[in-house]
Symmetry: C2
């Protein structure tokens, strides 16, 4: 039997999905599983987007333009302008989700064995894309005690070497919920200009900022035009994860021209999803106001409930809809599995994402979990109650 | 300004799309451009597929399963059974087009610098995926004089070395239109078993076989289960290129488990497109009968017309909807550009794909073009007339 590749063996299993078989078994036993483990919002997709697909008049479902239609990209540029990010349609390539955008970016700026520095904990699939392309993730530790703020620039400088091509941030952060302050972005801007690196920002949670905070994009930073590359997606913004539409944005012409060649090889992004995504740009502001208000309330109640638990520490999130929680357990992988296999309260249990999979440094995050607050408030309260009871039982 | 990657510089521009700016300019001048250059069929997508999307009742457009829904995969397995290919839903991963399926396959079985042998001319984007992943395409020449039949096995054996991981065929072939005979598949099966390689077959044109010929799949070949990997797509079968749904199929469990990890990193294939693709499986046989009849007629008339032209040689296609044509010109790149820039007949010209981009060996195919016969018969006749007049003028 012919063998598979070394990189195939190294590909990490998703920390978000690897407990799925245990959850399935729990459900088969009749236990209700409350999913805190995955960032699939329960928020309704805007009607305008769903209706656009319902009303399509396609007769031949043909390839679209490789980079997305001129019309859609022009409207995306207008969306950015409203967010004080000034780009034109030529600075944008429409992709099959933010995932594909990041793959294209990595291929465009990195060869095998090149290095990209990423503050950890970070979105676990960054590891998957890097492994698939044979490039190296160099983690830099951010601490739960600081709510996962940007590590000191001096720490970055120690990690920059001849193979370093870029720094990648997720802002606001998945899994941290940390929203980088303008000053932090400016420090990074100085750094990448000094060392002639790219600064890549995954800004898919741009709108999800709380306590009146406002997101500051790397493309708002003057002088960073040749260095800045944004990875974006409609998935969370319009609760349409299943569309699989995102984009990459850069003022650097060589980056766009090169990424376009990667895009040409896969022909085009999905057509129906582009119809939905273009229509989604017409979503009224009231939709976002309601959604952000809902998430803010969920966040507040989740944090308040978690802080009542003994021995539990929460990194208070200012953005996105995740938080990282330190538990009084030695191994959150074991605990998460135990929750699904051995525990229930009133016929229910919770599924959480063990945080170790969000760290590249072995041994970090082993007593942390990620919680996605994408469920209704009552369910979140109940989930934390279950977590509290479970911790008591687990630790005796 | 930070530099882009070496692989980014090496990524080939699409030979199918690179003449687009000249075509745009011709259209702006008022010249009608007949597109023989791209495999975008004019055939209508089955109504059942388009209606399924029109009638969707989605409220939250959520992620689907990474590998595609159990229901859809079960139905795909039933489709294969009808084609005498016996697989189960667990042998299938639904992908974002055949493109993604091939990327996953390459990542699953090859590391950087590993080699894959591909008969040339081949679908140009194979080069793109290989370059993106840093793997090496080793071409083996098939000849227009043989209608691009399988090269002798002894030629393959000369190319197999320690880095060789797989042989990739496209059957029926794009751009060649060649349909491998059962005996040729069996020769390849012997070869990959002897050398412990994978045999990957892009079978997206399975249904498009002419003159009563029947496609023989690598998964119909007994004893090849651990070696065979099929790349497939709904794009051409149902004229729904814009869906971006395909799949990879293998009885090799390690291949499927590994490819699934690559798939998890990108979360899921597009949801609306899966709805359309699942419904497309209900397309009545009469649709295919009509479509194949139409393509067969187009093929016959195109070949007959081309064979009237002096100095032109056609590799008669038995499958798919392309053919490679040798022209009495020294450089078909220049000729294709000249057709768009300098020539018109009755206000029209033709756009063809220069064939050199379908070869990996430099210098091959420079006097060949690929024609896609995805247009109505009258247009094909007119296109060949234009080509004939153009050749006369070009060569004087």
């Amino acid at each position: 039997m012919p063998g598979i590749s070394k990189k195939g063996r190294q590909m990490p299993a998703s920390p978000i999905r690897k407990l799925v078989p245990y959850a399935e078994a729990a459900k088969k036993r009749g236990t209700h599983v409350i999913h805190l483990n995955i960032g699939q919002p329960d928020i309704k997709t805007p009607k305008v987007a769903l209706d656009a697909v319902r009303n399509h008049n396609i007769e031949v479902l043909a390839y679209s333009m490789t980079e997305g239609s001129e019309m859609y990209r022009t409207k995306i540029a207008a969306y950015y302008a409203k967010n004080d990010i000034h780009v034109s349609s030529e600075d944008i390539i429409v992709t099959t989700g933010g995932s594909e955008a990041l793959s294209f970016v990595m291929g465009t700026i990195m060869d095998a064995d090149d290095e990209i520095i990423i503050p950890e904990p970070f979105y676990a699939n960054y590891n998957g894309f890097a492994t698939a392309l044979g490039v190296k993730v160099v983690p830099i530790v951010s601490r739960i005690e600081d709510n996962f703020a940007l590590p000191p620039i001096s720490h970055f400088e120690k990690l920059i070497g001849p193979k370093t091509k870029a720094i990648l941030i997720c802002n606001p952060g998945n899994p941290t919920g940390y929203l980088y302050r303008k000053e932090e972005i400016q420090q990074l801007a100085q750094l990448v200009k000094k060392h002639n690196l790219f600064l890549v920002a995954d800004e898919v949670y741009r709108e999800f900022a709380y306590e009146g905070r406002v997101h500051y994009s790397i493309l708002q930073e003057k002088g960073l035009e040749e260095h800045a590359i944004i990875v974006d997606s409609v998935s969370k913004r319009y609760s349409m994860c299943g569309a699989r539409i995102g984009c990459l944005v850069s003022k650097n012409k060589t980056v766009i021209q090169t990424a376009l060649k990667f895009a040409q090889a896969r022909l085009s992004p999905p057509t129906f999803a582009q119809i939905a995504s273009e229509a989604a740009l017409e979503t009224p502001q009231s939709y976002f106001d309601d959604v952000i208000k809902e998430y803010a309330e969920r966040r507040n109640i989740l944090i308040a409930e978690l802080q009542k638990l003994e021995g539990v520490r929460v990194a208070v999130p200012q953005g996105a809809f995740y938080c990282v929680v330190k538990l009084p357990v030695s191994n959150s992988d074991d605990f998460a599995q135990w929750l699904l296999e051995k525990f229930e309260m009133d016929g229910a249990t919770v599924m959480v994402a063990p945080a170790a999979g969000f760290y590249a440094t072995k041994g970090l995050g082993t007593n942390q979990i990620r919680i996605a607050y994408v469920l209704e408030k009552e369910l979140l309260v109940k989930a934390v109650q279950i977590l509290g009871e479970a911790l008591k039982k687990y630790n005796t």
